[in-house]
């Protein structure tokens, strides 16, 4: 409220905008989507999408700035209705961080869309494509910004429905099946979530997250079981959305057959926002009210995370399609993130949160690099990419940089995450997890190594005759995120330190 109060005393334009930043995160892409849908030319739609993404990043950064400067979370009441009756948007360091992450990935990768969409999507569908992209973006931003449990569901469905449609636009017919499967699983996940929220509403009578956190405790005393059931529904529902092993089965095909840009964007953002929701509900809402050991969620999460880090990594080793390989690698990396959650200490959560960012950055780079290869060569099958490193030196160079980060080589962002998670594990006395982290990195050496071997140590075949680095519009986003991979490996002011603040918020509310 402090910001609103300040606005009342000094009603300049800048302050008016400053007051409404949270809602702008949702409204701008939503309006952009409508505009895109109205245009009939792909390039117009692209221009709108690019403008929206860039301005969204600006807004998100301003919001983060405000939050870091403010003592309390920034709140915003939709339509002026005060919570718990009205919908409240509530931004603290954690979701401001997520907002910047999502908006940042959107803004940096959007130029990449221009060429790939031009090639992969029919001209008459391009404006729809961008409209869907902006809808998806709006949904993801909405999930991150809102402080209302049911509102999360709505935005989850906005982003998911548009994601299904986007995936279905892939050129391979298998994209349709992947989208269908994702739709069924996504809907089950979302429905589980909404069932959980419904149960909570029945026992507490509120949907506001902050309000829930205070009311669950008393309600738990009278009726513990509905609340535990709600927790179970919510955790499983969101686990599906974030592709927690073994609920990840929808993910590889969805990522492999979606249009390149969609893969890049979703891989970097969709699962991350789902993780955020889980963190928020598990720690802030439930953790503040009940003892988290009433359900063995941390234990199950720990086991599944370890399984993900190993099994999914090994799956990645045996994939011939680099896109599917990266998809499995994502499942493994999500395992790293949930591992930090399961450790549930400040250091572990810092590892989780910083890995949200770092993984988004490096996986987006990898998917863009391989997308550029697909753009030039038409396939991502390793058997047909021998010698690609010599034909597309910049692209594959960036692939290697991001690959090193996946492995966790010092000097890259991946190392920071792994290190932080390792510290978290030692801190919590779970030191065998250090070997789990290190072991899964070793497997990552193998699958990244396979690509490097194919790309650099073999003679290029005839099918690569006219392969060359992609145009600047694709190369620059790649290079930016590649540079970010290194930057976040060297300077952690904007990653680990904010993540630490966010982890403190999560841990601080624990009962």
């Amino acid at each position: 409220m402090s910001v609103l109060a300040a606005a009342a005393t000094a009603p300049s334009f800048a302050f008016v905008i400053g007051d409404h930043l949270p809602i702008l995160q949702v409204i701008v892409p939503l309006l952009g989507a409508v505009l895109c849908a109205l245009t009939r030319r792909g390039s117009f739609a692209f221009a709108i999408a690019a403008l929206v993404s860039w301005s969204l990043l600006g807004v998100a950064i301003m919001l983060l700035w405000q939050v870091l400067g403010a003592a309390a979370p920034i709140t915003y009441y939709i339509g002026g209705w005060a919570p718990p009756w009205g919908i409240e948007y509530r931004v603290d360091a954690l979701n401001a961080f997520i907002l910047v992450l999502v908006a940042g990935v959107g803004a940096i990768t959007i130029p990449f869309a221009y060429r790939t969409v031009g090639k992969e999507i029919d001209e008459d569908k391009q404006s729809w494509f961008y409209a869907l992209f902006l809808l998806c973006l709006s949904g993801l931003m909405g999930m991150a910004v809102t402080g209302d449990a049911f509102n999360i569901f709505v935005f989850m469905e906005v982003s998911s429905l548009s994601a299904y449609a986007l995936i279905a636009m892939g050129s391979d017919r298998r994209a349709l099946l992947a989208a269908y499967q994702y739709l069924i699983m996504g809907t089950i996940g979302a429905t589980f979530y909404v069932i959980g929220i419904g149960l909570l509403y029945v026992v507490t009578g509120t949907l506001n997250l902050a309000d829930l956190a205070t009311r669950i405790g008393p309600a738990f005393g009278t009726a513990p079981q509905p609340i535990l059931a709600a927790l179970a529904f919510i955790v499983v529902g969101i686990s599906l959305k974030l592709a927690l092993f073994p609920l990840h089965l929808w993910l590889p095909n969805a990522y492999a057959f979606a249009p390149t840009f969609v893969t890049t964007f979703l891989a970097a953002t969709a699962t991350k926002v789902a993780v955020y929701i889980l963190l928020r509900l598990y720690f802030t809402v439930f953790g503040g009210a009940i003892s988290l050991s009433d359900l063995p969620i941390a234990e199950v999460l720990l086991m599944l995370s370890i399984a993900a880090m190993f099994i999914a990594s090994i799956l990645a080793v045996y994939e011939d399609s680099v896109e599917r390989m990266l998809a499995y690698s994502s499942v493994a990396q999500i395992g790293c993130i949930t591992l930090g959650m399961a450790i549930a200490t400040r250091a572990g959560l810092t590892g989780s949160i910083v890995h949200l960012l770092n993984h988004a950055v490096m996986k987006a780079t990898l998917f863009m690099a391989i997308g550029a290869v697909v753009y030039r060569v038409g396939t991502s099958c390793m058997s047909e990419l021998a010698g690609i490193g010599r034909k597309m030196p910049l692209t594959m160079g960036l692939f290697v940089v991001a690959g090193l980060s996946i492995i966790g080589v010092p000097g890259t962002a991946g190392f920071i995450s792994k290190w932080q998670l390792g510290i978290g594990a030692v801190d919590a006395g779970l030191w065998p997890l250090v070997f789990v982290l290190v072991g899964s990195s070793l497997i990552a050496v193998i699958y990244i190594g396979k690509v490097v071997e194919v790309a650099y140590f073999r003679e290029p075949g005839d099918n690569l005759a006219d392969a060359r680095d992609p145009p600047a519009s694709m190369l620059i986003p790649m290079a930016l995120l590649g540079a970010a991979t290194i930057y976040f490996g060297l300077d952690t002011t904007w990653s680990a330190q904010i993540a630490d603040t966010a982890a403190q918020i999560l841990i601080g509310g624990l009962k």
């Binding site: 499967q181 699983m185 095909n253 045996y318 994939e319 510290i423 680990a496």
Partner: protein
């Protein structure tokens, strides 16, 4: 760092340039890299550091103190000699790998913190493997992969250790770590993990087989590079982190003894040298374990001398391999007739490693011996005396004898190429110079040297030892009791993972599949079987990898929900 580059960067830049050039230009450029590096090192202001902030830690990319500078100088010298020796090789990969490898070694010894050390530790592993791969045979490929796995594993263990160490001490600075008793605390786990990682890299017995496996398999010039850096970085790391740890005295003694028995009966002369290398590192580790100023000085100076004389011996064997295509004692002999220079240089190396007075081994090894006896380790001292006699036998006599003298094999290969001779000559010169005038080396040692090598007493002791060791060999020869060179393969600890492990797991697997053709005999088969099994389960068609119907996914979800609900209502 005014106007100076970080020392490792000189090599890395050189490697980049070597990747872009070819022919004589590249050769010239490569020779210039260690020279430029040396100039850079010379002008480096004293106690320079280069810091970088990471998380809550300070990375110290460069730390110049006496210990690190000595090793840095050594590696520059070794790199120059090895590059000169390999100058005729027209292989870009080996050229680049060599410079990266040398640069990583320099980087590792100048690293002021453990994370930087780890980075270079892994860089050493990755860059050095190309020398084994470059041999180009299926055999060397398998060897290279075994080598790489062990080396990378060492790095990974190091990283895990660093994590615990950092957690326990709150610092990643690479100083004295010491070895607390193992009580399960983070500090103890960290120290032990780091120590084990270093042991692997130092080829301590039972962790050593990558060395005797890989070094004889590398190219003629590659082994010269390999012999110079990896293990000496490990020695440096021990000296820095674990000086004065009692365990090292025991381990070093075992390490000095264990390989000499194998060296006597080994037929491949480059493998003999590999065993000899372990033996010499054993001496150094004893010195580090004793931990007094004299002992550390001895260990460090012996590391310096060992790189040069062992490099010289490997070079002479490399020249033999280059000219005759083999280093098997049973196929060589009498080469001194056509390779007189190589023979001479080899003899200088042999005299140096045998610690003959006025050759370099004498001025450094005796320091360790004296320290051992002065610090009250009589058994260690006796064992090291025994090992010294063994060195005379396998490195002082066996290597030159079977390659260049012995019975005439009838081969009359050409003398080694000029660049090889120059490289060997330079190394021989350093051996003699350090042996006859050790004061410059002594001045560079980490602690002030209060030791006089050339007393009558020391010289007499050494001459007696040497003369009667040689006499014993001659006597055994004359009486026909000396073991013949037999084309053979001696199994060593690698047997456990190349034979026993596969056999055991093969047996287990055979039980499962009942009628497999008996117990598997070689590691490759096992690996491929495990691999096949993994692929069957995890490949694109495998259980987890295949496409699943939506219903199956939904079932998993429901099962998970059911499990949670069960917990909730129980």
């Amino acid at each position: 760092m005014t106007g100076n580059l970080a020392p490792f960067l000189v090599f890395y830049i050189g490697a980049a340039l070597a990747a872009l050039t070819s022919g004589a230009l590249r050769s010239a450029l490569m020779l210039c890299v260690p020279l430029a590096g040396a100039y850079n090192l010379w002008t480096l202001p004293p106690s320079t550091t280069l810091d970088l902030q990471l998380l809550d830690y300070t990375l110290q990319l460069v730390r110049a103190d006496k210990l690190s500078l000595l090793f840095a100088w050594l590696f520059h010298l070794a790199a120059f000699i090895a590059i000169l020796f390999a100058l005729h090789v027209k292989d870009r990969t080996q050229a680049v790998a060599g410079l990266v490898y040398a640069g990583s070694a320099v980087g590792a010894v100048m690293a002021g913190d453990l994370i930087t050390l780890f980075v270079f530790w892994e860089m050493l592993a990755v860059s050095s493997v190309f020398f084994i791969l470059a041999r180009g045979s299926a055999h060397s490929y398998a060897t290279a992969m075994r080598y790489l796995i062990i080396q990378v594993a060492s790095g990974v263990i190091l990283l895990a250790g660093i994590l615990f160490h950092a957690k326990a001490t709150g610092s990643i600075a690479f100083g004295s770590i010491g070895l607390p008793t193992f009580d399960g605390s983070a500090a103890a786990i960290g120290a032990w993990l780091i120590l084990i990682a270093i042991f692997i890299k130092a080829a301590v017995p039972l962790f050593h087989n990558w060395l005797t496996d890989a070094y004889p398999e590398a190219t003629a010039t590659g082994t010269v590079f390999l012999s110079a850096f990896t293990t000496k970085v490990a020695v440096y790391a021990l000296a820095r982190g674990f000086a004065g740890v009692d365990l090292l005295v025991t381990i070093g003694t075992i390490m000095a003894l264990y390989p000499i028995f194998f060296a006597v009966i080994e037929n491949d002369l480059r493998r003999v040298l590999s065993y000899s290398m372990m033996n010499q590192i054993g001496f150094m580790i004893v010195g580090i374990g004793i931990g007094t100023n004299l002992a550390i000085n001895g260990a460090v100076s012996h590391a310096f001398n060992d790189v040069i004389f062992k490099g010289l011996l490997f070079m002479s064997m490399g020249a033999v391999l280059y000219r005759t295509g083999t280093t098997k004692a049973s196929e060589l002999g009498g080469l001194f007739r056509s390779m007189p220079w190589t023979t001479t240089f080899c003899l200088v190396g042999a005299l140096s490693i045998s610690a003959v007075p006025l050759f370099s081994g004498f001025v450094s090894k005796s320091m360790i011996m004296v320290a051992a006896i002065e610090e009250g380790h009589p058994l260690v001292w006796l064992a090291l005396l025994f090992a010294s006699a063994g060195v005379v036998e396998h490195a002082g006599i066996k290597i030159p004898y079977f390659a260049f003298f012995a019975h005439d094999s009838g081969q009359r290969p050409k003398e080694a190429p000029l660049n090889m001779l120059l490289a060997m000559g330079l190394a021989a010169l350093v051996c003699i110079f350090n042996g006859a005038y050790p004061w410059i080396l002594y001045a560079a040692l980490p602690f002030p040297v209060d030791y006089a090598p050339f007393t009558f007493e020391h010289i007499l002791t050494q001459v007696q030892l040497l003369a009667f060791a040689v006499l014993a060999v001659v006597a055994l020869h004359k009486s026909g009791l000396y073991p013949d060179e037999i084309p053979s393969r001696n199994i060593d600890a690698e047997w456990t993972y190349r034979k026993a492990l596969p056999a055991v797991s093969g047996a287990v697997l055979a039980l499962a599949t009942l009628t497999r053709r008996g117990v598997e005999t070689i590691g490759g088969k096992l690996v491929s079987r495990i691999e096949r099994e993994l692929r069957r389960q995890n490949g694109p068609e495998g259980y987890f990898g295949r496409d699943w119907p939506t219903g199956f996914m939904a079932l998993w979800t429901t099962a998970m929900l059911g499990a949670y609900l069960l917990f909730a209502y129980l």
